[in-house]
């Protein structure tokens, strides 16, 4: 199973859509790796520059309704090929959330107050994910441990390495 966690990239806005994560004009690529440099290219967010801010990050922390819009799994792959395997948000659009688990990646929903806490821990934040105990260990200006709920089926998808492997075994 994948190791989850890493340095956090903060995207402080709700409703970040899949066109912002990966614009449609790049959907003509036929490999996942070809998407790598286009990550979050159209995201307009004060002070954010994908070419500078993505490097070395393993986790995205954001607000509500992340990944709304198109069904394009490219929005998940572009994170995967940039070594980002966890997105933590107040809520997700359904298809994006499913695409994350289908790829064996984590889309973790936290209550608004916990998201608020994460946004107050400074700019240098490192997140460890314990899938067995369902807790996030967060090292920032201070250390915080935040529990999360992981649906059993989603957990099985992550452990199987994604929906294709799970479905091939079970159906």
């Amino acid at each position: 199973m994948k190791e989850f966690g890493g340095k956090a990239l903060f995207l402080d806005r709700s409703d970040i859509n899949t066109d912002e994560i990966i614009p449609a004009k790049y959907l003509t690529e036929n490999t996942k790796l070809a998407l790598q440099s286009y990550i979050l290219e159209d995201l307009k967010l004060g002070g954010f520059d994908p070419r500078r801010d993505i490097e070395g990050k393993g986790v995205i922390i954001t607000r509500a309704n992340f990944g709304c819009g198109s069904s394009r799994e490219h929005a998940v792959w572009v994170f995967e090929v940039n070594d980002i395997n966890v997105v933590i948000a107040e809520s997700f659009a359904r298809i994006f959330r499913q695409n994350m688990y289908n790829c064996g990646m984590l889309a973790i929903e936290l209550p608004k107050k916990d998201i608020e806490t994460l946004f107050t821990l400074g700019e240098e934040v490192e997140i460890g994910v314990d899938l067995v105990g369902c807790t996030l260990t967060v090292h920032g200006d201070k250390k915080v441990v935040i529990p999360f709920i992981l649906n059993e089926f989603d957990k099985n998808l992550v452990e199987a390495g994604g929906w294709l492997a799970y479905a091939d075994k079970n159906y």
Partner: protein, 427 residues
Amino acid sequence: MGKTIAEKIFAAHLRDTPTPENVILNLDVVLCHEITTPIAITDLEARDMDRVFDTTKIKAVIDHVTPAKDSKTATQGKILRDWARRHKIRDFFDIGANGVCHALFPEKGFIRPGYTVIMGDSHTCTHGAFGAFAAGVGTTDLEVGILKGVCSFRTPETMRITITGTLQDGVSAKDVILFIIKELTVNGATDKVMEFVGPVVDKMSMEARMTLCNMAIEAGATCGICLPDRVTAKYLWPFLNHKYASIDVAVEDFLRWHSDPDASYVQEMTLDVSKLAPQVTFGYKPDEVKSVVEMEGTPVDQVYIGSCTNGRIEDLRSAARILKGKKIAANVRGILSPATPKVYSQALEEGLIAIFMEAGFCVTNPTCGACLGMSNGVLAEGEICASTTNRNFNGRMGKGGIVHLMSPLTAAATAVKGHITDPRKLI
């Protein structure tokens, strides 16, 4: 306790219940297009799993960029085409027979009441207009659908939206759904099914119901759904007449999918549309919606009429009603993209294409192209488009471009005046 239509469809297609919250459904139709399917195909090949669960239940079309605009899009088309031929998928629609998926597949009679449908395209919710459970999915879900004929969902909760009153002349299904999205917000229906009922829906054509269901995803919904009735049966009759003795018998049979009177809903909304004005979006989210009266006068550079939301014959008729005998403003480029070859040829027969062309519109072949900024009408930085499509996201129709979503009537009125215009003044 009674069941909703979505719950009835789920019960009839249940393959597995891995947890109380998650269900695995058997699929009746798996729809494919050339943007999200090729990576599924190449992945299946790489895994030595290049199989399909049922060639008759898989339908494929090249629609997003057609004819191909460059080598990359040509390759995407080729991967889909070669795969369809290799697996003898009969219902594959290539250039000359292709059209926007969510307009083409219903026209071919592929979607029936009670069906389960997936596609690697978020606007798959359109097909709920037929009383089907239809959901947009990602490429991995599509891949498993192609291979195994199953898909996972969370047990659905349904919100019921009852639409009452009478629509004014000049106000259409597009205005109704834009107003509903404004009320619910872009995630107000996440993980839910939006069930549209009431006298206004009962009177709507299948085209209008498809417009209504098409944009359910813009409120976050898994699916929009209408109860199948006589309108549904009449639309599908050429495909059903061997199965039922009469339309009456079909309508009677469809009742088994109707939500029970004692079904439970997580949310109820009632909307009297009698005073509803035409609606137009501003900003970059589909819930940023105002009355056309407030948006009147906003200048535009391009008017686009087409897409899976509003590229059907009824949409072309309503726009042509305003354009007839008029010219579009000198500052505006008009683009019409009939959604399917059938819509195109019917529009030719009815003289609608002539009306568009005489007004100064460019008429393209059926394609999704401009709606997502891929081809056939991409905007330049700073340009503004009045569009009958479904998303006004930043950069959606071209980097730096701005999109105002509206009905075909409002788009036509806007084309004539050169700025956003209330269509009620011109009809």
